[in-house]
């Protein structure tokens, strides 16, 4: 026995060791800050790592929120147009393109979620992926096949979960 409650286990620090090369100057800075906070070097580093991960998650959440807001705005802006030029030069669509490579996993995720009724993401993907077009000529215009070609491309070329 002696394994403790779930709560205790959650709070128990892991004994995992991580080795990271740092300069002497950085090490002195870490130790100085640890002394000011009256914590050990390892506690300070663990906290910094935790903050870093949370900040990264926050950034991802903010990107997703921005993408979803622009997506909703685009749907409102584009109306009943049939023109790809008109549809893909709406401010919200251009803002998604302007998000650059960070938008790629979001667009691919959105395209995947749209299943058999994919939306017009191909222009944005084409621009962000620097002119890539994985759709064979014979499949152009067939939205489901175009979507599949891009999803396959993402599997090959991107680290998309």
């Amino acid at each position: 026995m002696g394994q403790g409650t779930a709560e205790q286990l959650e709070k128990r620090p892991s004994k995992a060791r991580v080795s990271v090369p740092v300069t002497d100057e950085l090490l002195r800075e870490i130790d100085s800050r640890a002394r000011r906070l009256s914590v050990s070097r390892s506690t300070l580093l663990a906290r910094l790592l935790q903050y870093g991960l949370e900040a990264e998650q926050l950034k991802r959440d903010q990107r997703l929120l921005r993408f979803q807001t622009l997506l909703a705005q685009w749907h409102l802006e584009r109306g009943p147009t049939s023109s790809i030029e008109e549809m893909c030069t709406r401010p919200a669509y251009l803002s998604i393109i302007a998000m650059g490579p960070e938008a790629l996993p979001l667009i691919i995720g959105q395209l995947r979620s749209e299943g058999n009724n994919p939306d017009h993401w191909f222009v944005a993907l084409h621009y962000i992926a620097k002119g890539t077009d994985p759709v064979p000529d014979e499949d152009k215009g067939d939205m489901v096949k175009m979507s599949k070609a891009w999803l396959d491309w993402a599997e090959r070329e991107m680290d998309v979960g």
């Binding site: 584009r78 109306g79 009943p80 049939s82 790809i84 030029e85 549809m87 017009h120 215009g141």
Partner: protein, 153 residues
């Protein structure tokens, strides 16, 4: 009538002159639908389908060439003529530019059918019930001898 579009985009549509005939879909657009195709989105953008040999440009001339390749020629009007398929091409004029915006196809009943971008397709009468700020006005009509189902694109 309860489509995906905003009333301001089609101020002349009402419950008495149109009927929704499909769910909203991105699978095809008006240019394809006017040619009887509900499997493709036709657009001059290089990422999309566009008939071979037709300039990939947003121009009335290019749209006319698309339908000429399918046997259509410009005709005088949109009245129902036995034995003929007809389409109407809409244009929005912005300064000197005539921007093609929409195509509608005449049904055997004399009503017209339109696919509204990514929204639904619908039958409507008259043909210019879909005129307005988005599609502009009917610019011209084209016709060809009626195609059988086997001839359809």
């Amino acid at each position: 009538m309860s489509g995906s579009w905003a009333q301001r985009d089609f101020p002349h549509l009402n419950t008495g002159n149109c009927r929704i005939t499909s769910p909203a879909t991105n699978a095809y657009n008006c240019l394809a639908w006017a040619a009887g195709n509900d499997k493709q989105w036709w657009d001059p953008n290089g990422l999309y389908y566009w008939p071979k040999g037709v300039p990939r440009e947003v121009s009335l001339d290019a749209v006319l060439q698309v339908y000429e390749r399918l046997g259509f020629t410009i005709c005088t009007g949109g009245e129902l003529e036995t034995g003929f398929d007809k389409i109407a091409v809409f244009v929005k004029e912005i300064g000197p530019r005539k921007i093609p915006t929409h195509a509608a196809r005449q049904l055997e009943s004399g009503d017209w059918t339109s696919k509204l971008g990514s929204f639904e397709d619908m039958s409507h009468k008259p043909v210019d019930a879909v005129r307005g700020p988005c599609y502009g006005e009917v610019k011209l009509f084209m016709s060809r001898p009626r195609q059988t189902a086997a001839d359809a694109v």
